[in-house]
């Protein structure tokens, strides 16, 4: 009995970690929606939602309830299987990258002795990452590239010209900007010498922090990454797939009720995961400069503050998304393609070549 419990204990810890991480991300995503409406309201000289709960803090739940209770309309001429599958593909591919991101440092002084039967005897470490895999960066990129299917199939299966146009635009856009994104990520990978996200964070630790964070040596890469991240998540100024003045609502025109909510959530989860990627690659992930002087490395308060710093950096990027949405107009489609292929990709490749030369001479 005790042996079995000891055996399954690590799996239970991982399971709880998965539940906590996904729940936390979904909560942050729900409040990103509220935050977006508030901030956009302030930018445009309005108040924003303030009816449900104090300052409107219960608005996300009211929205969710509305999505659940609305009538679910399925177009008669749609390809049913793919029509139902598409929102699930979109949300699954948006959520899956969360498992490889390091949320904080490894806790080495944790005390499990309060647990019965001594099932956690001799275990003192708790890694704040669900799955530390060797190829974390590639994993994120590959899952993101599979996520295109959700949007493409939604556009095709709805059997409506607006949806189809939205789906086509979106897939063309995501294929184009994926290359620039990959080129900007490789620069960081070369400096860190690893594809493992935890190792990339560790490579940015140490003093002085302003020289270690990859945003400084890889500033061009950072800009290229940020722009292509906006394009990958279909946000303003690259929100052509759902340009409401031309395409009604783009690829999700024919979706209603909870299936629309899944697409909506997928978009915001994508924003969140891309922001996490930018934090881990360029802003040092969970690392807080100088914190190791105040607390022991590996202690619980150190880890908690690090998690807080990580979430704070991610929220900065989320705010940037909203800020830019309130500021910039939309691209035209040919401008978007020209910008991606003739400016962003060459810039990313030049940055990559420069990084290769510098790394080569540094390592000699």
């Amino acid at each position: 009995m005790e042996e079995t419990l000891k055996l399954i204990f690590p799996y239970v810890v991982v399971l709880i970690g998965v539940l906590l991480a996904f729940q936390g991300v979904l909560m942050i995503v729900a409040y990103t929606v509220l935050g977006e409406r508030k901030v956009l309201g302030w930018i445009q000289g309005r108040v924003g939602p303030n009816r449900v709960g104090p300052w409107g803090i219960l608005q996300p739940f009211a929205d969710l309830l509305k999505f659940i209770l609305k009538e679910d309309i399925v177009p008669n001429e749609s390809s049913k299987v793919i029509y139902y599958l598409a929102p699930f593909i979109a949300l699954t591919c948006a959520l899956m990258p969360i498992v490889v991101y390091p949320f904080g440092p490894t806790i080495t002084t944790i005390d499990w002795s309060f647990l019965p039967y001594g099932i956690a005897e001799g275990v003192h470490t708790l890694r704040l990452v669900i799955a530390q895999i060797d190829v974390g960066v590639l994993f994120v990129l590959s899952i993101t590239s599979v996520g295109v299917y959700g949007i493409m199939l939604a556009g095709w299966s709805s059997n409506s010209k607006y949806s189809l146009m939205g789906g086509l635009r979106s897939s063309a856009q995501m294929i184009s900007y994926e290359l620039a994104m990959g080129a900007s990520v490789i620069g960081v990978v070369m400096l860190a010498g690893s594809l493992d996200l935890t190792r990339i964070v560790q490579a940015q630790m140490g003093s002085p922090w302003y020289m270690r964070w990859f945003i400084i040596p890889q500033f061009i890469g950072f800009v290229v990454f940020l722009i292509s991240a906006f394009a990958e998540t279909n946000r303003v100024p690259f929100d052509l797939p759902e340009a409401e003045t031309e395409l009604v609502a783009g690829f999700h025109t024919e979706y209603s009720a909870l299936k629309f909510a899944l697409f909506f959530m997928a978009e915001y989860v994508n924003m969140f995961t891309v922001s996490m990627m930018a934090t881990v690659l360029f802003l040092g992930g969970w690392y807080v400069p100088g914190l190791s002087h105040l607390f022991d490395v590996g202690s619980v308060p150190y880890a908690l503050i690090s998690i807080g710093a990580f979430v704070g950096k991610v929220i900065f990027f989320l705010f940037l998304y909203i800020w830019i949405r309130g500021t910039l107009p939309r691209f035209r489609f040919d401008q978007l393609m020209n910008f991606g292929w003739k400016f962003l990709l060459p810039l990313g490749l030049l940055n990559l070549i420069g990084t290769i030369i510098v790394v080569f001479f540094l390592n000699r």
């Binding site: 793919i82 895999i133 190829v135 994993f139 299917y149 086509l168 294929i175 594809l195």
Partner: protein
């Protein structure tokens, strides 16, 4: 035990998707089934301790090539493939090739069952990114370079085929084509 169960799960899924790919008349359904095949193959690679190959399988095949295929299917708005009764002999050819493939598979199963079981060496790190990179840029540098040049040639070729002609050049091409058609009609 667990890995065997996972293998049969993903292998079964792969075979189901492969059958559905051949069976469906609609090209888009076939393409989606092929994506399913690639994803389950990637999962099988993962259980074989080759994470790099698994991820690259998803990134390249499911994420890039099949996205382009689906894009083209959507762009051309292809309908169901009509029944082609005039290619009856292909059924015989396909059946023959299927039997050859089955025989090959059975031979592999037979050969594997004959070889003695070897314990797995935990120090072998063939599937790691580091080892794959090192092997590619030292021992196998020449093949990698050759493949790179071939890909470059393919890109240049497609650019040449898809390039826009200037107006006089275009008119020349159109004139030639018209001449050819009129000759065909005359003869």
């Amino acid at each position: 035990m667990v890995s065997t169960a996972l293998f049969f799960l993903f292998a079964g899924f792969a075979i189901m998707c492969a059958i559905s790919m051949v069976y469906h008349k609609n090209p888009l359904y076939s393409a989606i089934s092929l994506v399913g095949v690639f994803l389950s193959l990637a999962c099988i690679y993962l259980t074989l301790a080759a994470p790099f190959i698994a991820i690259v399988q998803i990134l390249v095949y499911a994420g890039a090539i099949m996205v382009l295929v689906v894009f083209v299917i959507m762009l051309l708005n292809l309908d169901d493939e009509p029944n082609t009764s005039r290619l009856k002999y292909l059924y015989a050819l396909g059946g023959g090739l299927g039997i050859v493939l089955l025989a090959q598979t059975l031979f592999v199963v037979y050969a594997v069952s004959r070889t003695p079981n070897q314990a797995i060496d935990p120090n072998v790190t063939v599937g790691n990114t580091l080892d794959i990179g090192r092997a590619m840029y030292t021992d196998y540098l020449l093949p990698v370079e050759i493949v790179g040049v071939m890909l470059l040639m393919a890109i240049v070729g497609s650019v040449v085929l898809a390039r826009r002609l200037s107006q006089p050049q275009l008119e020349l091409v159109i004139d030639k084509e018209e001449e050819r058609i009129s000759e065909e009609i005359n003869s």
